[in-house]
């Protein structure tokens, strides 16, 4: 049983009744935290955070906004993070959603990443990444597809990695930097009348 799932059970018994908090507890949460420090505080805030995000995450594991985790997180199901995570996050076949209060200082690997909060670290999303309005991402992205909403802040690089269709053997491609270094940039096409050029 994961740490936050345990907390959720405790909350459900102690939190005041609201329609949103009525949710069956998941059977098992195959999410593991590998060691380090886990700080849980302000349980009432945690309940509020969870209630706010219920509709958005539909049954995935979650880390509430009052939770801070330092360490390595791996998950075999979708994960919603609205708290602080420092270290690394791996959900290789699953979707990671960073909620609006989420603050990630970690390397991230997932099938799909949706960012509404802040990420500082490199992100590998094998399928796609969405950086929503008001999200902040500082780091390098490697993904097959990317969606950036207006208003999002992004500092870093984007490397689009084309996924090979299944069943087709991969053709070796020479390293990009070698190809680029071997061939100088082509000179621009001569320009039309009206343009001025100064050469030194």
């Amino acid at each position: 049983m994961s740490v936050w799932n345990k907390q959720r059970r405790e909350e459900e018994t102690s939190a005041p009744f609201t329609g949103n908090s009525l949710r069956p507890a998941p059977q098992a949460l195959p999410v593991e935290i590998k060691k380090e420090t886990t700080t849980l505080s302000n349980m009432s805030s945690m309940t509020v955070g969870r209630t706010e995000v219920d509709g958005a995450r539909g049954g995935s594991a979650s880390i509430g906004k009052a939770v801070k985790i330092v360490g390595q997180i791996t998950s075999r199901e979708d994960l919603y993070v609205d708290g602080d995570v420092e270290g690394s996050l791996e959900l290789l076949e699953h979707k990671l959603t960073i909620g609006p209060n989420g603050n990630i200082r970690a390397g991230v690997k997932a099938r799909e990443v949706v960012a509404l909060g802040a990420i500082q670290g490199n992100v590998e999303a094998t399928d796609r990444i969405e950086i929503r309005k008001d999200a902040k991402l500082v780091g390098d992205i490697k993904t097959a597809r990317i969606v950036i909403e207006d208003g999002a802040y992004f500092k870093g690089s984007i490397d689009i990695v084309k996924t090979e269709p299944k069943g087709v053997p991969a053709v070796p491609i020479p390293p990009r930097h070698q190809a680029a270094a071997a061939t100088p940039m082509a000179a621009p096409v001569p320009i039309q009348a009206g343009a001025a050029e100064v050469k030194r």
């Binding site: 990317i146 984007i158 940039m185 001025a196």
Partner: protein, 230 residues
């Protein structure tokens, strides 16, 4: 030319432009940076065309966009097989200088700014899209920024920048640009600001003295599109 006019007739009247005195608070301008639905127009860009022609058949290059990431520019650059780098130059500029013009000649502030926004190894990039962002800076900061840009560009790399050409203006529009295709830019206008200084050809040549060549293209809205090659 004719097709552009036809397009503008078919599109109907342009949305109202910002009027009144120029906005001096860059933070307020940034807060109203437009979204997709507020496009002013699409126009051809000879500068962009030349910029892209410089690396069209060479996938895997590194292109830095100083205008902050937007979907269109990311799609365009990555669809050519290049690696896209993004910096929200104006936002950092605003955060660090916050309208204090005097601070733009303070060497330690300049270093800090460049460390935040252009902290890259020498000769990292094959191309830099600076849009009209260099126009916001006072001479000392501008000069240091151009020096840094020259350092991080590879030899034969290109820089694309826009400057207002009309020297009689007491306010200039704030634009943001998105790449529609190899020839066309979507132009967004989100207010007016006082020009920090205006650039004629001679001044631009001096500004980019460290570069191998400078080309100018004058657009209909009195913008000088400048493409420089290191």
């Amino acid at each position: 030319m004719l097709s552009d006019r036809l397009k503008s007739i078919l599109r109907g009247p342009s949305p109202p432009r910002a009027v009144g005195p120029p906005e001096t608070d860059l933070g307020r301008l940034l807060a109203v940076r437009p979204g997709k639905n507020e496009m002013l127009r699409t126009r051809t860009s000879r500068g962009l065309e030349q910029f892209v022609a410089g690396f069209r058949d060479l996938p895997g290059l590194a292109i830095l966009d100083l205008g902050g990431a937007n979907q269109e520019n990311v799609n365009f650059i990555t669809s050519l097989g290049h690696k896209f780098y993004s910096e929200d130059f104006l936002r950092i500029f605003q955060e660090i200088f916050a309208g204090d013009l005097a601070d733009q000649s303070n060497p330690s502030r300049i270093d800090y700014f460049l460390g935040q926004v252009l902290d890259y190894p020498d000769e990292q990039f094959d191309g830099v899209l600076a849009w009209d962002l260099l126009e916001y800076m006072e001479p000392a900061l501008l000069s240091a920024t151009i020096d840094r840009l020259a350092r991080i560009l590879k030899p034969k790399g290109y820089l694309l920048a826009f400057f207002h050409a009309d020297e009689r203006l007491d306010s200039v529009p704030c634009y943001s640009f998105r790449i529609e295709n190899v020839r066309n830019l979507q132009v967004f206008e989100y207010g007016k600001r006082a020009p920090s200084h205006l650039f004629n050809n001679r001044r631009l040549e001096k500004l980019f003295l460290k570069f191998e060549s400078v080309k100018f293209f004058l657009t209909r809205e009195s913008l000088r599109e400048v493409i420089v090659r290191k």
